[in-house]
């Protein structure tokens, strides 16, 4: 039950964010389970970037605070990291002069000289460091060279291979581990949460994705834009988030599976659009990747602080589905299912993630499942005998849901109005219609509830304490569970609407501790509202970082 951790750090612009994930892949291809966690400021040059990898021959779920091997490409690393005695530090100690009181296991690589002697550009520093790291950890050099071939332009591949070889020369295979590489793992996927969302959407037949870039959601936009022509998707970077969501609603109204994605600030702008989608009962999937706020907040850091925002977003009351997946598989499947739910129930569906889950790399065996099927819900196919007739688009067909109509359908004419309306979509403000509509629209909740997953218990049933979490906090808890039986945890992968009576049963007899990365304990607050159960004990973190495994183990040991 051991892991090793490796970290590479340097100023922004040094290529940390390509070297890190590449090394994670190299370790995975060597047969180790990996998890990679980036930290970076919102700047192009300077500052401090680092990428932290945890790996083991057993499944690794989440990030540790500890760093066993540190690759320091610049002095800035020593200003930002706590160097400990047991840490192995790879650096050019000729160029970086450390004060005497910093003690660590030094591996000196004369990076500056290597660059100079070989006439290498500065950017290959990374490759020198990766070569050294590979040697140090017993990663086959050919795995590294192959990754270079896959990642770099052909003309610089050889130069990087040469650089890596130089790095290897200064490193003996000194880190001993008792990990037995697992051949199965070599075939696993290493991907980010946002990549799981994007591939889930592609699988689900998404046709239209429009938004404005906002960290940490932007990589969904980038991924889909990159494959748009290949899969026939239209992807739009719009003038602002308002246009982003409204354009997606227009596309959905026209019958296409549409999605938008953003972070909290962008969602603030999209708020009116969420209400519009709800009022005209047009399906819409919204990926929300949370970051600390309010306002600009901490753009490149993580927090789970928008749950209550989406639970109450936009004026008045309407049904919205809130999904809170906690790992790659859940992200993928729930994004896929989000489109089905949106189509079947004609409500906005949120898929919540956060910077930690969105941008970190995780290992997963596979994401291709049997049994994923598309359900577009009730659609009126048309009536050629009376092509110019209006159709009761908002008249209940089943379970509170009315039949959708794609414009162009004969005999399906209707108006999609932001106003309250009659069955055909014409403005109506009489009390009878309003009551009928509100009751019909809310009736959908009864049926959605039965489709959404209930919170799930992980770990030993009779543990002393039970953490209650949602979204990505599942991951550090999964990792911490490897070390102790003192706790178990309940993870909500969906928050609304669910059967709260069943939740009460799941909670029965447990000493509950809310664990969330926000200041107030937002899920705990929702639980109190929905069940009357007040969770007094809260373990909350709001510094922009996810829970590190050590922090959870400390909390459990202290018993608070």
């Amino acid at each position: 039950m051991t892991v090793l951790t490796w970290k590479i750090g340097g100023p922004a612009g040094f290529g940390i964010m390509s070297a890190g994930p590449m090394f994670a892949k190299a370790l995975k291809r060597s047969g180790y389970s990996v998890q990679g966690y980036p930290e970076y400021p919102s700047i192009i040059r300077g500052g401090y970037n680092c990428y932290h990898i945890t790996f083991s021959n057993e499944s690794v779920f989440s990030v540790y605070k500890r760093c066993d091997i540190l690759v320091a490409l610049d002095k800035v690393v020593f200003d930002n990291e706590d160097i400990t005695e047991n840490m192995t530090v790879i650096a050019d100690f000729d160029s970086i002069k450390l004060s005497e009181d910093i003690v660590c296991k030094k591996i000196h690589i004369p990076i500056k000289n290597i660059l100079k002697e070989n006439d290498f550009p500065d950017i290959v520093k990374n490759s020198i460091a990766l070569g050294a790291s590979a040697k140090l950890l017993g990663v086959d050099e050919n795995i590294v060279f192959k990754l270079f071939e896959e990642s770099f332009p052909a003309k610089v591949v050889n130069m990087n291979i040469e650089a890596a070889k130089k790095g290897m020369q200064y490193c003996e295979n000194v880190i001993q581990n008792n990990f037995k590489p697992d051949d199965k793992v070599k075939d696993y996927l290493v991907m980010t949460g946002n990549e799981a969302i994007a591939t889930g959407a592609i699988k689900a037949g998404v046709g239209f994705y429009s938004t404005y870039p906002m960290t940490p959601a932007s990589s969904i936009l980038h991924y889909l834009a990159g494959v748009a022509e290949k899969y026939g998707i239209i992807v739009k970077h719009t003038e602002d988030e308002i246009a982003g969501i409204i354009m997606a609603i227009g596309a959905s109204y026209a019958g296409v599976r549409a999605m938008t994605g953003t972070s909290g600030g962008g969602l603030s702008l999209m708020t009116e659009g969420v209400g519009l989608a709800a009022m005209i009962e047009t399906p819409l999937v919204i990926a929300l990747s949370q970051r600390p706020g309010p306002a600009t907040g901490m753009p490149t850091w993580t927090e789970q602080s928008d749950l209550k925002f989406v639970m109450n977003i936009s004026q008045d009351e309407f049904v919205r589905i809130v999904l809170t997946p906690g790992d790659l598989k859940e992200l993928f499947v729930m994004t896929f299912e989000a489109f089905n739910l949106a189509d079947k129930y004609q409500v906005p569906v949120f898929v919540l993630t956060d910077k930690f889950l969105s941008e970190s790399h995780f290992c997963v065996d596979n994401l291709e499942y049997d049994g994923l099927e598309i359900d577009r819900g009730y659609i009126f196919e048309g009536d050629e005998s009376k092509p110019m007739d209006f159709f009761p688009r908002y008249k209940e067909f089943k379970n509170g849901v009315a039949m959708r109509v794609n414009p162009g359908t004969p005999g399906g004419l209707f108006k999609a109005p932001g106003n309250e309306h009659d069955d055909f979509g014409f403005v109506a403000t009489d009390s009878k219609t309003r009551i009928k509509n509100q009751e019909r629209r809310f009736r959908k909740e009864n049926y959605i509830k039965d489709e959404l997953p209930l919170p799930k218990l992980y770990g030993n049933e009779n543990a002393e304490i039970t953490f209650v979490c949602w979204g990505s906090t599942k991951l550090p808890l999964m990792e911490a569970l490897k070390f102790t039986e003192k706790f178990n945890f309940i993870h909500f992968s969906a928050v609304n609407p669910i059967n709260w009576e069943d939740v009460k049963n799941i909670f029965k007899g447990k000493k509950l501790v809310a664990i969330e990365t926000n200041f107030t304990g937002q899920l705990a607050s929702i639980i109190a509202e929905k069940t009357g159960i007040v969770i007094e004990d809260k373990f909350l973190k709001y510094d922009g970082r996810p829970f590190f495994v050590e922090e959870i183990l400390d909390f459990v040991e202290r018993g608070r």
């Binding site: 592609i202 689900a204 998404v206 246009a243 354009m247 109204y253 110019m388 414009p407 209707f414 932001g418």
Partner: protein, 282 residues
């Protein structure tokens, strides 16, 4: 369909004498003349008296939020480019709240027709100043008189690179109908500013005011000249009606290979094989 057949059957609630009746007739006439079928037409409406046009047309309709007509229309047209998409909004809706979308819709040059009912006032909300209200006008929201310069939306459109800029007048229905037909037939973003007196809250811009100043551009006018167009939209005292500027530019849907053959609606929404994507993560 005949023009009459485009009536939805709902009785309009515009004030007697409102220019919207004329615009309504011009739209119905244009759709009939072009032999369009109501089921293939989507009318996207903004908020305001102009937006109520939606209720009176026997077409598909989308009554969006204030200022958000053009993003809806863009989403609809890109998703099913076989549809004819017409947008009706007012000066408050399009030049105030929706000004940003206006500029970007021009940049895209998508094949939609944008009709702005420009009455220089907020009618539905009972008479506040709009972005095209003249300086000095006292309104409910500017009791001491407007101190902001009025916007010249046609000049904005020209300078943003619009390929089809026209001006119509609700007092000239036949002329307006022909303009709308030209707009619908134009392969690109057709923008028509429609002068329209607000008979209840408008003060200066009455039928008399316009009747004294309007004139129609005729064949002697070269609407492909940008200089001509700029001069026309900055004219004082006289008001030119007609197509002020029209050039050919790449139409937006034609720049999307995804929808070259079939509509997005026809090609998406089916389960996809993503094994190639997943392979790249190994």
């Amino acid at each position: 369909m005949k023009a009459m057949e485009f009536n939805s059957g709902k009785i309009p609630v515009w004030c007697p004498g409102c220019g919207n009746f004329a615009i309504w007739n011009a739209i119905k006439g244009a759709l009939a003349d072009l032999e369009l079928n109501g089921k293939d037409v989507v009318n996207v409406s903004g908020i305001g008296c102009s937006g109520k046009m939606l209720n009176h047309l026997r077409t598909y309709g989308f009554h969006t939020l204030h200022g958000r007509t053009l993003p809806v229309a863009t989403g609809v047209k890109l998703s099913n480019h076989k549809l004819t998409v017409i947008v009706n909004g007012g000066d408050g809706d399009g030049y105030g709240m929706g000004a940003g979308h206006f500029i970007h819709a021009i940049r895209r040059n998508l094949d939609i027709t944008y009709l702005v009912h420009d009455n220089h006032i907020y009618g539905l909300t009972t008479g506040q100043a709009s972005p095209t209200t003249d300086k000095g006008l006292k309104s409910k929201s500017t009791p001491s008189g407007v101190i902001d310069e009025p916007l010249n939306p046609l000049a904005v459109a020209l300078n943003a690179g619009a390929a089809f800029v026209a001006r119509g007048y609700s007092g000239e229905v036949e002329h307006l109908k022909e303009l709308i037909k030209e707009g619908i037939n134009f392969k690109g973003f057709a923008y028509i500013d429609i002068l329209q007196p607000c008979v209840t809250f408008g003060k200066k811009y009455s039928y008399e005011y316009y009747d004294e100043r309007i004139y129609k551009l005729d064949e002697s006018y070269d609407c492909t000249s940008f200089e001509n167009a700029l001069k026309k939209v900055w004219e004082k005292d006289k008001i030119a009606l007609g197509i002020i500027y029209k050039i050919q530019k790449d139409e937006y849907t034609s720049l999307h290979p995804q929808i070259k053959e079939k509509t997005l609606l026809e090609t998406t929404g089916k389960i996809r094989d993503i094994s190639e994507e997943l392979q790249s993560f190994k």
